[in-house]
Symmetry: D2
Subunit: 423 residues, 4 copies
């Protein structure tokens, strides 16, 4: 049977990435994915943010293999294991304590959407309110509760039923530079005639990754936190894609010096791309009854082992500095591309991209980049944004090489389109 036939015959047509990238991969290392014919690709997709530390990061992988060879417990529900204890300790000591944070940790089912579900439940329990404010172009997950607070029409349409308990408001900048969307939100919550009530929570990404690399300004984020406090609502920050150093600091909310009530982590928290998700909550919000939210795979110890090893890389400032440095490089190179093609650079740290007015342009560039050996995806409501998200560990030369290939792809697309038009 042909190399891809088995997928086409037996896998549901729900599959998506594999349609744009119809390649069968076999091995991976660092920033490179290699297919079954031995061709390697620079990975600017990084597991949609789950591979911040690179494919098969040697230190992480070695820790996992050794753990397995020693017959370490692999699956433990929410039983105590030493692997879990190590992870908690590393997270407390390396991440929380230095930042003055005192969160309790909840290990949910190991997907981002499970963490969001837990966060929403908890906020509703803490406040005895139902509605949660979410924002335009947000994405929080695919299970019913998380999907309700997500914005992408195509994804929401999958639910086949109306959603309950969500109030949608415009994100920072959504109504253009002259409209303060936070003022609208404030007015709506203060006005007993607005139709909106004090919510259980506000759920927000500081940088909307799926939604098009839309960055909330620091003053908007801080204003949102103030608003939440005034209305006794919880601030939930979804750090699933932006956390674990993606924007520079470990948490993207550090940029605005926030102290969210609840933080959701997943994707790279498991270090090697192994499934794991984590909800952080301020201790006073830890009102769960035992077992009120659980899940079979909330004790994926391989992820604890790899994740703890990954966290240890945050013991000093080198990783953050390296992200900052590479983020600047990305910004410069993307500006060149944007200027040459009439696009606009968006994003923060190592989660940046270029948006174009022509809604088909970004996808065309991504196709050409793939042909040139670079895997890169698009985002935004119209897929109009090219999204560059390499492993944080990518060496600068490789990053530079990949960006150059993207630049050529963009220029080729411009030339090719112009020629077509000219002819």
């Amino acid at each position: 049977m042909g190399s891809q036939t088995i997928f086409e015959q037996h896998e549901s047509q729900v599959r998506s990435y594999s349609r744009d990238i119809p390649i069968v991969f076999r091995t991976a290392s660092g920033h490179l994915l290699t297919d079954e014919n031995g061709h390697s690709y620079i990975d600017f997709l990084a597991g949609a943010g789950a591979l911040n530390y690179g494919h098969n990061n040697p230190a992480l992988k070695q820790a996992v293999i050794e753990y397995m060879q020693a017959d370490g417990v692999l699956h433990s529900l929410d039983l105590y294991t030493d692997a879990k204890r190590n992870f908690i300790r590393e997270f407390q000591e390396t991440i929380l304590a230095p930042r003055g944070l005192d969160y309790r940790m909840q290990f949910t089912g190991p997907t981002g959407t499970n963490a969001i579900e837990a966060a929403l439940k908890l906020a509703r329990r803490v406040t005895s309110r139902t509605n949660v404010v979410s924002f335009t172009n947000s994405f929080h997950g695919m299970s019913l509760g998380a999907l309700a607070v997500s914005s992408a029409r195509r994804k929401r349409s999958g639910a086949g039923m109306p959603f309950v308990g969500v109030d949608r408001f415009p994100f920072d900048g959504y109504l253009g530079p002259s409209v303060d969307t936070l003022a609208y939100l404030d007015q709506a919550l203060n006005d007993p005639g607005s139709g909106f009530d004090a919510p259980a929570a506000f759920i927000v990404e500081t940088l909307q990754a799926e939604g098009g690399l839309n960055e909330a300004r620091v003053e908007w984020l801080r204003g949102l936190q103030d608003l939440a406090r005034r209305h006794n609502a919880l601030l939930i920050v979804d750090e699933i894609q932006t956390g674990c150093g993606r924007t520079g600091p470990f948490f993207s909310f550090e940029r605005a010096d926030l102290y969210p009530d609840i933080v959701c982590l997943a994707k790279s928290i498991g270090g090697l791309g192994l499934p794991m998700a984590l909800v952080l909550m301020r201790p006073e919000h830890d009102v769960w009854e035992p077992g009120q939210h659980n899940g079979t795979f909330r004790g994926n110890n391989l992820a604890f082992v790899a994740g703890a090893e990954a966290l240890s890389q945050w013991r000093d400032a080198s990783l953050e500095q390296s992200i900052e440095s590479k983020g600047k490089l990305m910004c410069e190179r993307l500006r060149e591309i944007a200027q040459a093609t009439g696009g606009a650079v968006r994003g923060v740290g190592m989660l940046q991209g270029v948006a174009w007015q022509d809604r088909s342009f970004a996808r065309a560039v991504a196709r050409r980049a793939l042909a040139a050996g670079v895997i890169v995806e698009t985002c935004g409501p119209w897929d109009e944004v090219l999204k560059i998200m390499p492993p944080l560990t990518i060496p600068e030369p490789a990053l530079s090489d990949g960006l150059e290939r993207v630049r050529c792809a963009a220029l080729d697309e411009i030339v090719s389109t112009r020629l077509e038009v000219a002819v």
Copy 2:
């Protein structure tokens, strides 16, 4: 810091198993869990059904280690990998083809609840209907959509909001032996004055695991399938806990010779307890648009590797025969316990237990069993059922040993209680 202090200080109070089993585990092998002091326990919990093939099953573990050592792709979203292809091929050839089944496979986020969410969405899309019929004492998951069709009050209360789109009906036997609950369901759906409409789907477990080991009779299950067909509704069978051989055959619905429209698998499908979930759908129901349901961790290749290796154990009949044989042993031994203590045996295959009228008895026995070196949990709406669920691979002597310790625990509890009463 003391051994468990770090959990108590930093982990959310939502934790549950670790409250009844306050032990820090370090290694595990086969049917044994070993704590950090070197004490070993017979595991009759088996990761709540995720460890059918035992802890660190050597063949599975070896395959995973070799895959990692060769820098196999660990995380791949829904990109094609050879590990995934192997899994699909093994599943098609070893499981589906011999049973005459032609399901399409959807890899969802790697938790059971994510699979259920996908199944519910799909059923609603296929039928353009909203309501799903679920049954008393069902459990399908903790995310909002799955929780809506679950029955446990404590768990549902976590949502903090009313559910939409579910009609609840009594499971087989719920109203006693003299009432045919299927007749009620049939009448309700045929009667335009009942208040119930034709549903999008019926979601059912053939043996309710969390709900108290309630077994649906074959004729009830077949009648339910007929009912679904008559009302153009889909039959979703939740095989998350009962599948992968737990009740004997690979799918528990084989007992009733069903052909469900949608089947949900998770827990042991990943072989080693590694997170993975799978939705099977009849090809005509594969109406997904690309990406309409996705998830970052739907490509957990370690689970594909371990899972494929596990599936290969189904190439001949030996595993199923062994389950049958051990299931009989369990039944005999549990009958003795039940007779001696006034309980009743429930369950099928290697998912059996004893229910008692005294709602605190099962928990007391579980506590005593733990002290005697056996990990065993309770289930049912009042935790009134002791649930014995060893790895399917447990050797008969070890199974026998564990059951004997449970028997002693039960007798001790009887004696102790009587003495108290007598004094």
Copy 3:
């Protein structure tokens, strides 16, 4: 323009009664409706229960005309008027006090469904719970809240969206004589694994009028009240069609000696068929904030005037005795019809009818009765029940005459059908 053309051209196709009874009526008196050609019809429909005191009841009509001639306030929102004061006094003195009832009175928008909406809101406020238990074959109204707790599929389908906050259970007798539906309800509420929670309220008709004249037994009703008390839920009795003497006593629940938490009245409470609705609540449940439920027409003073005059007829026992006597007559005559045609008599007091297995039979009889000068409607999920509901004030000879015409209509239908079959 022809007599009915204007309706057909300009009125929405939602119209229903006028399809089966395509006659333009001009005047009405007592139990007679007269069309524009001077033909009179015995009215066994009685405004669907709004005309218990007959068309243009002389005493009531005179009071209304005099009130108007004196420029009495017609429309008063919820301002105080002496007409309203008279109504309240008459209701307290004539209806409530003699029955030992101490209800507070809420005048809602003047339709039954508005009263139900108020009752549901109040129950949810009192209990801080969301779900309301309603029963198979119930009907409570057409606005969204009332429709949610109603059962007829055709009517519910009009909503175009799923309902929230209702749990449906089988009414008394729904599962046949051998199944105690109350036991199922009790079990479902006591069992934390049933999927059902303690509800805000139970809403019930003691005799389901639209649903097919299904009578709840006294012990079932009393058991339901006990159940409500045990679960701290409210008992709402919908007396919209069954109240105002329709079944004999003023309230139909007197039959079971209930003391409901909330009672809804409408239809005949306005005496002459003038719009009015009333919610009665036990004083401890009167937790409304001012204006929290209101409506422009809740002060329809003509209805207060006519309604107070109507209530005065309850100062002695004569009306109730007369209903009892005519109810017996109805029962006897309907039994003859039922026996002759293979039907079954259903109902209580002056709300009785005959049900047939052949689902088209009742409608055929109604058509023949109309041709014979009797207006009569059908009810039940399949319109399989002929529903006889004359004004309570109909003289016995007229009642007898009308029933004889119905009997002939039924026999004619039998004969005609048989002949068709024979030929």
Copy 4:
């Protein structure tokens, strides 16, 4: 028993108008309400808009009395009567035909909220969509469906449960003069990432009466209609308070030359304040099945008789001209009051008022006006707007007199407050 004791003892505390106006009224004529002690009050409340033609309008009253004296059918469900035919004919000939409108007419239960419920159902049926867009500070009714699309927090809180199927957007001007709220709405519906879907309908008041006399600009209203057309959504105009000439023309939407898909009428459509409600729909939207939305009191023939007589007053332009003239008078006089007190005039036609920054001022003025013999209410989210809504038939001298008394009340309040502050 004292004059008001009976209300206080036996009526629910939900009563509202009677709290601010604790007077027992007996008679009424034109613009005057007279209490049981013979004191008369100028009525600037006009039954919250139900008494556009004045109390006991002689021509209307006479028609009703004669109809009753002739034993006209009072209550007819949706059966045909000549009174209903006359109403339909008068509405078609006098109102619709001259305006080039071809609406079908649906007689719903006789309250505004019932009409709104029907409109929402119909829009959902026509479009097979669920969500309806409503606006800040809207008010559409108190039953669950209508309440869901209403904005006042106090009223919505009565529901005791979350609402489904509504998207709330800012009304014209809500975000200040510099923000085009329609542009936000347009963007939100065009953007597949906004979180909002194409709605079933937009429901709007052209002048928000309860919400504070907020007037939508003509271009906004026309833009909204265009938006609805572009998204294949229905435009529902709620004319319950603004229709029947209240703003000048019969329909308030004539100001913007709209052709709504659905129009809801109630309040003054019954002429004398008798309960009646009416839904107008474009013929292509009349997709009801027979009886799919009904109600016992949808055939209130006294309202048909009075309403038809009232409609006849629209046969020539004199009423509209008179409203225009008196509206100008109101505007001038209210401007004086506003200028003297630091308020701002709002409203259109004979539905105007003054808004003050000081949220307690309007209520204080209303109290003083009552003492001076004028009944006037407040509106707006904070009750910060004094709302002047006399019968349309009020003679200019009486209107002038009443406005003068309001002016004095406002000045007195200013003086009194200043003195207090000074002291």
